[in-house]
């Protein structure tokens, strides 16, 4: 009799745990992220406007369009490739909420792999959400995983064979958006997403793409611009200018490997006329040797275990007591994107894009990212969108 009641008690406890977990997962999956777009936004399209391959899926994301109406170049800024790298999302958002384009066009995507933002990494205890304080209140976003949610893309193959190269990759990389370029119209979710993004790039005649990322300090490709070979000179000059004049920690440059397939910096350049770039910035929370994995670490970028690794020369980026705070990481990405576009204007005047309204590196450091986010509750309803 006692055993029976013990079993019932265990079942009830398990059911309660499942109910709480289910509620938390559901809350993360359905949370809508508000965007109070710049008044100079000209149009919001859906990714499926460029290919039906993605229509009706969670990855049919918003595409924010800034068209000056003046002939010039076209840039595409991509955030959200890896949802556990939140600076990529917010850097893109800083453009959408502040940008005015006076020549050429700029397209912005915040959540190119929305599905990845609706789950979390198993066993890593990531926070489900992260927050930024603004003068008007607090803005909140989902903190997701590197790969798409298995609820949206399942099952994974035994071995993921990249299309069209035929290169073998790890099975879970079929859900890693930055292993699936240039995509496949009848493939799995992330393949279809990149296929639709490639259609956007081809149909809109995009001249350059920038894919925002963050990386652990243990990773050798760190604080850098990875460039397709057609962008080597623009990336080199951008790196030299920022290192010389703006950044305390230098930003480097890397050539995109020709034999490593599926990455945006390789495939976008190979399969379209656009020149593809990928930016990396240091994010201690992604390091394997980090301590407590909470929102405090995500935002401050301070971790004594990562610092200890640095003292033993085990890292590819410097770190000290000041860490790698969120605002610094945002400032680097936003400034690198602006500078790269300016350098591209100099070297390719026919692709000129002139932008206004974007905060400077020092503005973001001095005032914080929140100072450049608009209040969705106070913005005119026609300027508010949801990712």
């Amino acid at each position: 009799m006692k055993l029976k009641w013990a079993k019932i008690a265990v079942l009830l406890v398990m059911a309660a745990c499942a109910a709480v977990a289910g509620f938390l997962f559901h809350e993360q999956r359905v949370y809508r992220e508000a965007v109070a777009a710049s008044p100079h936004l000209t149009q919001v399209k859906k990714l499926s406007d460029y290919s039906p391959a993605i229509k009706g899926t969670v990855n049919d994301c918003n595409v924010y369009v800034f068209d000056s109406g003046v002939p010039g170049g076209t840039a595409l800024l991509i955030g959200g490739t890896h949802a556990e790298e939140p600076v990529a999302l917010v850097s893109a958002l800083v453009f959408t909420e502040n940008l005015k384009v006076t020549q050429g066009r700029v397209f912005v995507i915040h959540r190119v792999n929305t599905s990845a933002s609706t789950n979390t990494r198993l066993g890593e205890a990531y926070p489900r959400f992260f927050h930024v304080e603004a003068p008007w209140g607090v803005q909140k976003w989902r903190m997701g995983d590197r790969v798409a949610n298995p609820l949206d893309s399942w099952p994974d193959p035994e071995v993921y064979i990249h299309y069209p190269s035929g290169q073998n990759l790890a099975y879970m990389d079929i859900r890693n958006l930055n292993r699936n370029w240039p995509g496949k119209a009848d493939g799995l979710l992330t393949e279809r997403t990149t296929f639709a993004a490639m259609e956007l790039i081809r149909q809109e005649g995009v001249d350059l793409t920038i894919d925002f990322h963050e990386a652990e300090l243990e990773y050798p490709v760190e604080n850098t611009i990875v460039a397709h070979e057609r962008g080597n000179e623009v990336a080199a000059m951008t790196s030299m200018m920022l290192t010389s004049q703006t950044f305390r920690v230098p930003i480097g440059m890397e050539f995109s490997p020709k034999a490593l397939h599926g990455l945006s910096h390789r495939e976008v350049g190979d399969h379209s006329d656009a020149v593809s770039y990928l930016f990396e910035v240091a994010e201690p929370m992604l390091d394997r040797i980090r301590g407590i994995t909470d929102e405090e670490l995500l935002m401050s970028g301070k971790d004594r275990f990562v610092m200890k690794a640095g003292e033993h020369n085990l890292l590819y980026a410097p770190i000290d007591e000041s860490g790698w705070p969120f605002d610094l990481r945002i400032a680097r990405h936003v400034t690198t994107a602006q500078t790269l576009i300016q350098v591209n204007n100099m070297l390719h005047p026919d692709q000129a894009i002139l932008m206004e309204g974007i905060p400077s590196y020092q503005d973001i450091l001095d005032q914080g990212t929140g100072a450049f986010l608009r209040d969705p509750a106070a913005a005119p309803p026609e300027q508010v969108y949801y990712d």
Binding site: E229, A236, T243, S244
Partner: protein
């Protein structure tokens, strides 16, 4: 009036002495046109090329240059940038041993053609992290007539000590963007 003239004379004297003191020694004077390559497929050679272009110096970079394809033409100086990139070597389908062999061949051919050899390290501590970087630096600097580095690359004094030990002239510039000023 005499006092003013004397002060002016002294000021001019001081200025001219400063100018003499700051003039680069003959051994560190670099002469173009420049041929640039990389030992380790890092973007260093591209950066030298871009910095030279901005400064109005004539520089040509070729990361696939070999002793066989080397043409001295009008080049006066060969610059080889050290420090490696795994992505870059992957992109070029090569490795550090092949890179060192290629660059030593180019250096030999350039020296025979009368070019001055500059060993450069211009991408900072980010290109001094592993054994490939060390091998690239060791191979290039051993053959250099002049060493050219940015401040960050020498932040631990490695190149200053190396140049002193091997009695090679050393040029230190603030960063890669400033390279053009010494070309």
């Amino acid at each position: 009036m005499k006092k003013t003239a004397l002060m002016l004379f002294l000021a001019l004297l001081v200025l001219s002495l400063c100018a003499v003191a700051e003039a680069p020694p003959e051994e560190t004077k670099l002469e173009g046109p420049y041929l640039v390559t990389t030992c380790g497929q890092s973007p260093g050679a591209v950066m030298v090329g871009m910095s030279a272009m901005q400064a109005g110096a004539k520089a040509t970079y070729n990361n696939a240059l070999t002793a066989e394809t080397f043409e001295p033409g009008e080049f006066k100086t060969l610059i080889v940038t050290a420090g490696t990139s795994m992505k870059g070597m992957g992109a070029a389908g090569t490795d550090i041993n092949a890179e060192i062999e290629r660059c030593l061949g180019v250096i030999k051919a350039a020296r025979e053609a009368g070019l001055k050899i500059v060993g450069a390290h211009i991408e900072g501590m980010a290109r001094r992290t592993d054994s490939s970087d060390a091998a690239s630096i060791e191979a290039v600097m051993a053959e250099a007539d002049v060493i050219l580095v940015v401040t960050d690359s020498d932040s631990d004094g490695f190149f200053t000590a190396y140049a002193k030990e091997h009695e090679k002239p050393l040029i230190v510039v603030k960063d890669a963007l400033e390279i053009g000023k010494v070309l």
